[in-house]
C-alpha cells in the first residue's frame, strides 16, 4: 500500500489502521487502551442526534435533549508508515449506534470479558459475529486469580473454538500486546483464507 501525496504537502501521511476495544461497562476498556497507547489517552465526544435520541430510553426526559457519547482512544506508531488507533467503545447498549462508525474499516475487535459478569460481553460478541468481523475474547481476571478455566468460559459465552480466547490483565502491557497480536494474527489468517477462496 502506498499513500498518494498531495502536491500541497511536504510529507506523505501515515496509513491509519484501527482496532476496536469492546466489552461491558467498567470491564477495563479504557485501562487496556491506556496501557499501550503512546499518547496520553484522549477522549472525544459526539452528540447523539435528536433522531437517535428518540430511540433512546432517556428520551422520555425530553425529546430535544442531546446526549454526549464519549469515546476513549489511543495511538501507537507501529512503523514509519503505519499508525494504529485503539478505540474504546462506549459501553452502554444505547450507544451501539456509534459502534458502526468505530468499526468501519477496523482490523477487528478485542472484546474484554469479566468473569464475574460474563453476560456483559454478549452484546459485543453478537455485534461482531453478525458483521463477520474478526474478534478475540480477552478475559480480564479482576480477582487476580484465573479461577475459571478458559474452556469453561468459552462454553459459558458460547463462541466457536476458532475464536481466540486468552487471559489479559488490562494493566499489563505484555498481556495487552498479546491480545493485539492474537487479533491481528486472526485477521491475517482470515484475509489469507478469503484471498485463497477468491482465486
Amino acid at each position: 500500500m502506498s499513500v498518494t501525496s498531495d502536491p500541497t504537502t511536504t510529507a506523505p501521511g501515515k496509513i491509519p489502521v484501527k482496532i476496536v476495544v469492546a466489552g461491558g461497562f467498567g470491564v477495563g476498556k479504557s485501562t487496556f487502551v491506556n496501557t499501550i497507547s503512546e499518547i496520553e489517552p484522549l477522549r472525544s465526544e459526539a452528540m447523539m442526534t435528536s433522531a437517535s435520541a428518540e430511540l433512546d430510553d432517556l428520551s422520555q426526559i425530553s425529546t430535544k435533549e442531546t446526549t454526549t457519547v464519549a469515546m476513549d482512544f489511543g495511538r501507537i506508531s507501529l512503523t514509519e508508515e503505519i499508525v494504529l488507533y485503539l478505540f474504546g467503545t462506549p459501553g452502554q447498549q444505547r450507544f451501539h449506534f456509534m459502534w458502526n462508525e468505530l468499526s468501519r474499516g477496523a482490523i477487528g475487535a478485542v472484546i474484554l470479558a469479566d468473569t464475574r459478569r460474563l453476560g456483559d460481553c454478549f452484546a459485543a460478541i453478537d455485534y461482531f459475529e453478525a458483521r463477520s468481523m474478526p474478534f478475540i475474547i480477552a478475559v480480564n481476571p479482576f480477582d487476580g486469580q484465573k479461577t475459571h478455566a478458559i474452556d469453561a468460559i468459552r462454553e459459558a459465552v458460547q463462541v466457536d473454538v476458532k475464536v481466540p480466547m486468552l487471559f489479559c490483565d488490562a494493566r499489563d502491557r505484555a498481556d495487552v500486546k498479546n491480545g493485539l497480536i492474537a487479533l491481528v494474527e486472526l485477521a491475517l489468517l482470515r484475509e489469507r483464507a478469503q484471498a485463497h477462496a477468491a482465486t
Binding site: M1, T8, T9, L42, T79, I181, V184
Partner: protein, 130 residues
C-alpha cells in the same frame, strides 16, 4: 417519574458558565453555523495535515480554525484533532471540511496498491515489536 425541577436547575447551571472549560465564549455549534457534520464523510482515523499554503490563510481564520491548522503541521487523525481542540466530533468534521475546501489542509487518502493481507502482515510485525 421525571423530576423537571432538577432538570431545570441543571440547565440553568450550564447557562451560568458562558465560558466553558476551554475558555470558549460561544457554544461549539455556533462555530459551524449549526452544521453537525453528519453529512460529511471523513473517517475518524483520517489523517489531516496543513497544506504548504496554510500559512497564507492563517490571518483569515477565527481561533478554532487557526488552532486546528497549528495542530496539523504533522498529520493528525480527525478524532485526535477533535479531542485536542475539545470540540465535539461533528464540529471538528465541519471545520476540517471547510479548511479542506479552502485548501488550507489536505486529507491523506491511502490508496491500496497492495492487498489488505500485506498491510496486515506489516501491522503484525509492528505489534510484535512493541
Amino acid at each position: 417519574m421525571i423530576d423537571n425541577s432538577e432538570l431545570r436547575i441543571e440547565y440553568e447551571g450550564e447557562l451560568e458558565h458562558d465560558a466553558d472549560a476551554t475558555g470558549r465564549l460561544i457554544r461549539p455549534y455556533a462555530i459551524t453555523g449549526g452544521r453537525t457534520g453528519a453529512d460529511i464523510d471523513i473517517d475518524l482515523e483520517a489523517q489531516i495535515q496543513a497544506s504548504t499554503r496554510a500559512s497564507h490563510h492563517l490571518g483569515a481564520y477565527r481561533w478554532e480554525a487557526a488552532r486546528l491548522i497549528d495542530l496539523v503541521q504533522a498529520p493528525m487523525a480527525l478524532i485526535e484533532l477533535a479531542a485536542r481542540l475539545e470540540l465535539p466530533l461533528g464540529v471538528a468534521r465541519v471545520l476540517v471540511a471547510d479548511l479542506l475546501s479552502d485548501g488550507a489542509v489536505v486529507l491523506h487518502r491511502p490508496v491500496a496498491t497492495q492487498n489488505f493481507g500485506s498491510l496486515l502482515e506489516r501491522v503484525l510485525d509492528g505489534v510484535r515489536n512493541l
